[in-house]
C-alpha cells in the first residue's frame, strides 16, 4: 500500500499526468453529452466515420508539413460532419451508406498518403498512434490543454444553450419543422459539435475507439433511465467516471490509455445491464 501511494505521488508529480486527466475528463464529458443525441438519432456510427475522416486529414496535414495539424483536421472534419448530417436524408446516397463510404475512403486515402509521403521512418508507429491513441494523451503540452479547455467550454455552452432545440431535433425533427423552427440549423450545430468532439477525442483514444466514447456511456445510461435529461446527466457521469478510472488504471498499470478507457466503459455497460434486469424483476 505504501508502494502504491509512493508511486501515485511520483506519477502525479509530473504535470503531463494532470494534463492527461484534465483533458481526458473534459473530452469524456463532451462526448457523452452529444452521444445521447447521436444514438437516439441513429447516428451512432458517425463518430467512427468522422474519426476516419480526421485520420485522412491528419495524413494530409503531415504531407503538407504542418506542425499543428488541427488547422487542417478540424475544417475537413467539420465539413464532412455537415455533409453527413445535413444532407444525409436528401442525398442520393443514404446516411449509413454515405458514412461507410466516407469512412473507409478517408481511411484508405490517409493510409496511402502516410505510406507514399512518410513524415517519419516509423509509419506503423504513426498509424498505430493515430488509430489507437497510444500514449498521446500523456504527451500533451500546456497549449494543447488550453485548446481542449476552450473547445470543451464551447461544446458544453452550445449544448446547454440549445438544449431544448437539440431535444426537439433529436426526437421529432418533422414536428420541429412544422412549428416553423429551422431544424437544419440545429442539425448543423450538432454536426459541428460532433466534429469538434471527434478531433478532441482523437488525442485520448485514437480514431478507431472514438465511437466507444460516444456510444457506451449513452447506452449504459439508457439501461437505467428513461427521460432525456436523466439519460444525459447519467451518461455524463458514467463517461467522466470511466475516463478517470481508465486513465488512472493505465497510468498505474502501464496499459494503453485508449483501450483501458473503452474497456472500463464496456464493464460499466454490462454492470448497468445487470442492474436494469434486477430493477425490472423487482418491479414485476
Amino acid at each position: 500500500m505504501g508502494d502504491f501511494a509512493a508511486k501515485l505521488q511520483l506519477y502525479f508529480s509530473y504535470p503531463f499526468v494532470w494534463y492527461a486527466l484534465i483533458v481526458g475528463l473534459l473530452i469524456a464529458l463532451c462526448s457523452s453529452l452529444l452521444g445521447v443525441t447521436l444514438v437516439l438519432k441513429r447516428f451512432s456510427y458517425i463518430g467512427d466515420g468522422l474519426s476516419h475522416v480526421a485520420f485522412g486529414a491528419m495524413a494530409i496535414a503531415a504531407l503538407v508539413g504542418l506542425t499543428n495539424n488541427v488547422y487542417i483536421v478540424m475544417p475537413i472534419t467539420v465539413i464532412s460532419a455537415i455533409l453527413l448530417l445535413r444532407t444525409g436524408q436528401n442525398a442520393k446516397i443514404n446516411g449509413d451508406a454515405a458514412i461507410a463510404m466516407i469512412s473507409v475512403g478517408a481511411l484508405a486515402l490517409g493510409y496511402m498518403l502516410m505510406n507514399l509521403f512518410p513524415s517519419s521512418a516509423n509509419i506503423s508507429g504513426d498509424v498505430c498512434t493515430t488509430l489507437f491513441g497510444s500514449t498521446s494523451i500523456l504527451t500533451l503540452k500546456e497549449s494543447d490543454v488550453i485548446i481542449c479547455i476552450v473547445m470543451s467550454v464551447v461544446v458544453i455552452a452550445a449544448f446547454l444553450l440549445f438544449y431544448n432545440k437539440i431535444f426537439a431535433v433529436t426526437f421529432d425533427e418533422n414536428f420541429m419543422k412544422a412549428t416553423g423552427i429551422k431544424a437544419n440549423v440545429y442539425n448543423l450545430i450538432i454536426a459541428i459539435i460532433t466534429a469538434l468532439i471527434i478531433v478532441l477525442a482523437m488525442n485520448l483514444v485514437g480514431s478507431l475507439l472514438i465511437s466507444a466514447l460516444i456510444i457506451f456511456p449513452a447506452l449504459s445510461a439508457m439501461r437505467l433511465f428513461r427521460s432525456f435529461r436523466s439519460v444525459v446527466i447519467c451518461s455524463a457521469c458514467v463517461s467522466v467516471t470511466c475516463a478517470g478510472l481508465g486513465i488512472f488504471t493505465s497510468i498505474m498499470a502501464g496499459t494503453p490509455v485508449g483501450s483501458t478507457i473503452v474497456v472500463t466503459d464496456i464493464i460499466v455497460f454490462f454492470l448497468f445491464c445487470g442492474l436494469s434486469l434486477i430493477i425490472r424483476r423487482k418491479n414485476v
Binding site: 508511486k7 511520483l10 506519477y11 509530473y14 503531463f16 499526468v17 503531415a62 512518410p118 513524415s119 517519419s120 521512418a121 516509423n122 506503423s124 508507429g125 504513426d126 498509424v127 498505430c128 498512434t129 493515430t130 489507437f132 497510444s134 500514449t135 498521446s136 500523456l138 504527451t139 503540452k141 493505465s250 497510468i251 498505474m252 498499470a253 502501464g254 496499459t255 494503453p256 490509455v257
Partner: protein, 205 residues
C-alpha cells in the same frame, strides 16, 4: 544538407510519436532496424536472457571502459539502494517511462542537471557528416508501436563495438541530463557515469 544530418543525429532520441520521429535520410535503415527491434522485443516479454554476463565478457575485449559496468544488479530499484537520483525510470511502468522521456525531449530545460536512471535497449548510429558515433538507450511504449531513445555518453567513450554491448541488449543508464550543441542545434543527452547490461527479467516493465 547539414541541417538534415543534424536532424538525423537526433533521430533516435527524437520522439517517434505523432509524426515527429527521425527524418528520412541515409540512416533510415538504422532507424527502421530500431523500430523492428522494439516490436520484437516487446512481443517477447518472457523470452530468455538476451545476453548473459559470461557471453559478454567472453565477447568483449579487455579494453572495456570502467563505466561499462557488467554487473547485473540484484534489484531493479538501484536508486533506492542508498544512492538517490532525481528521476528513477526503473521503478515506473512502460507508459510512464515513455511519457517521461517524451517530456524530457520536448521540455528538456526542466530536466537539465537532474540525475536519472533509465532501462532500455542499446543501439547506436554513425554519421559520416560529423564522423561521430551516437549511443542511445531506446524505450518502447506500452503498445510497442512507438519507441523513443535518449542519447548517452560514457565518461570514457572507448571504441565501438569493442566497448559496447550488441545492439538490442537491455541496458541501464545512469547519469545526469545535459546538452551539447552541434551544427547550431542543441541536443539533450545523458552524461552517463554508468552503463549496466541487464538480463531481461531485471528490466522494470
Amino acid at each position: 544538407m547539414k541541417m538534415r544530418y543534424s536532424a538525423a543525429a537526433l533521430a533516435l532520441s527524437a520522439v517517434m510519436l505523432l509524426g515527429s520521429c527521425a527524418e528520412d535520410n541515409s540512416d533510415s535503415d538504422v532507424i527502421n532496424a530500431l523500430i523492428s527491434k522494439a516490436a520484437s522485443s516487446a512481443s517477447a516479454e518472457n523470452s530468455a536472457v538476451i545476453s548473459s554476463l559470461e557471453e559478454l565478457r567472453a565477447e568483449k575485449s579487455s579494453s572495456v571502459a570502467e563505466a561499462y559496468d557488467t554487473t547485473v544488479p540484484a534489484d531493479t530499484t538501484e536508486a533506492s539502494a542508498g544512492d538517490p537520483v532525481d528521476i528513477d525510470l526503473t521503478v515506473m511502468n512502460s507508459t510512464m517511462i515513455y511519457s517521461v522521456i517524451y517530456d524530457i525531449m520536448v521540455n528538456p530545460t526542466a530536466y537539465y542537471g537532474k540525475s536519472l536512471i533509465v532501462d532500455g535497449y542499446f543501439d547506436s548510429m554513425y554519421l559520416d557528416e560529423f564522423q561521430s558515433r551516437y549511443y542511445f538507450v531506446v524505450v518502447p511504449d506500452a503498445t510497442a508501436c512507438c519507441v523513443q531513445g535518449l542519447e548517452f555518453r560514457l565518461p570514457d567513450e572507448g571504441t565501438y563495438p569493442d566497448d559496447y554491448p550488441d545492439p538490442g541488449t537491455d541496458i541501464r543508464i545512469r547519469g545526469v541530463l545535459g546538452n551539447y550543441e552541434e551544427a547550431g542545434q542543441v541536443y539533450s543527452y545523458i552524461m552517463a557515469d554508468r552503463m549496466t547490461v541487464l538480463q531481461k527479467d531485471d528490466t522494470a516493465q
